[in-house]
Symmetry: C2
Subunit: 297 residues, 2 copies
């Protein structure tokens, strides 16, 4: 089935609603000023809002108008922002630049960065608690479980990437898949399944969205690896060739650039086939898949 | 009403069940070894398990047998362990010793300590999700909200304590109350109300447990301040006089030792009056109140 009857998906307009929802959520909390400022610095920084957009498009794929996803969109962006802040710390990736601006520990100090990251992680669960479309079913419990699993896997991925500790039996390709499907893929997956769940997806649609998210997440990270090798630091907005410096496992390092591109192509086709099965309501997800394929930064 | 018909509350036996539940929960997760080891090092370290015991006793106060609280007991101990690990980091309190052993960043490195703390924070929400005594009511949503609020307030308290940023209009006593009711009080409060909620407390009991927890939490922290001035490092199991070194606000520093002791007495009487209103089922909470009053470490 093709998306001839696609539904509206204006990324700028949706981003604007997401940013408004994030600000409005923080406004309700009355955080101490020394916490509120660093949280806003990180969360509201200019960004692509990929994960919130995925949540919105997944809600549409499940038959919603997209706005059902707003609380979970806020939640996944909070988790994403927390992970960037902690990953940038001197003890981890030790990055000074993020999204073209000083990283939070450079801007506000390391103590503020640790605590603001902690707060954003906790606040994500608070944001999800705003979704109760069906108080007599356990939609809320499902969303919390999906967010827990995504966050736990994301942290596990960062542990593998930073500290290693792999099973001796794994090949380099298996190791890099384990890192990527967890470190980046898990939160992309959570964004999609939570968006669909917030819009009361039926099980077949949820399964298709889940499969799509796995393809997309791995593809997205392989592209990120390639951009690190081939990209322009001014466009990407952060220091590049870090992976090479640190001898980290990446797809191009393990499999070469050409083979990495082939895998991207396969993942793209697999993802499309799931969207075809969902039908016209998947047009937002299709658009995001294309955006994430063709990005140069 | 006096507690002549008190119910059994064997702290060693309950601690043993709590420790077993924490280990069993971790066993289900299959964490990477480089994450699993630091999480177990912190979470399963010998400790008083004050917050889990409070959750258990609060469940009894609400008419349960206590065991209803096990998942929330695990959750609050995970939050407590996360907060200790991050608070001990060089950028925050920079402590080398905790519970008589090297702090996690001394034992496993700073990256592992940051990531294990993050994981424990996220896992707390996963632990709560094991409580679904009444799938058709929103007990689960209530517990998540209580845990969110407790965790957020705890982090806010640490921000006030570490980074300041108080409203100019506050007195030193108001500042120290703000620090303590958030930094220590909020998680003690969450432990109590979550324990009672897990055992399906009625609203009057929940209100009494909540009020008791506020009295207890503040009292506990003032005692901690006093131990820092007057305690024996060998018994307390961590470096002392840190507060004095860092010019931190504490009750003895702001109000003097005698006045601090008077406030402790008032809080103790207030707490007891709430337990009297709950009746014999509050005997576990009464025992914990006494334990926490008479502690020397």
């Amino acid at each position: 089935m093709t998306s001839t009857n696609s539904i509206p998906f204006d990324t700028d307009q949706i981003r604007s609603q997401i940013d408004h929802a994030m600000g409005a959520f923080l406004d309700t909390l009355n955080l101490p000023s020394k916490l509120d400022e660093p949280v806003r610095y990180s969360l509201l920084a200019p960004g692509k809002r990929i994960r919130p957009l995925l949540a919105w498009a997944s809600a549409q794929a499940a038959g919603g108008d997209g706005s059902e996803s707003l609380p979970v969109a806020v939640a996944v962006e909070l988790i994403h922002a927390f992970s960037l802040v902690h990953d940038d710390l001197p003890a981890l990736d030790d990055d000074d630049l993020r999204r073209g601006r000083p990283t939070l520990h450079k801007h506000a100090g390391e103590a503020a960065a640790i605590l603001a990251g902690d707060a954003m992680l906790a606040l994500a669960f608070e944001a999800v608690s705003k979704v109760r479309p069906h108080p007599t079913t356990d939609t809320h419990a499902k969303l919390i479980t999906q967010l827990c699993q995504g966050t736990r896997a994301m942290i596990a991925g960062q542990v593998y990437d930073t500290l290693g500790g792999f099973d001796d039996s794994l090949s380099d390709q298996q190791k890099i898949e384990l890192i990527h499907t967890n470190k980046t893929g898990a939160l992309i997956h959570a964004a999609c399944v939570m968006g669909a769940t917030a819009a009361s997806a039926d099980q077949p649609t949820l399964d298709l969205v889940s499969g799509f998210a796995c393809d997309l997440g791995l593809k997205f990270q392989i592209i990120d690896d390639l951009l690190d090798v081939q990209g322009d630091p001014k466009l990407v907005g952060k220091a590049l060739r870090k992976d090479d410096d640190a001898n980290k496992l990446t797809y191009p390092a393990v499999l070469g650039i050409e083979r990495s591109k082939e895998i991207i192509g396969t993942l793209h086709r697999d993802a499309l086939s799931k969207l075809d099965q969902i039908g016209p309501a998947s047009s937002g997800l299709r658009l995001l898949l294309d955006l994430m394929t063709n990005r140069s930064h």
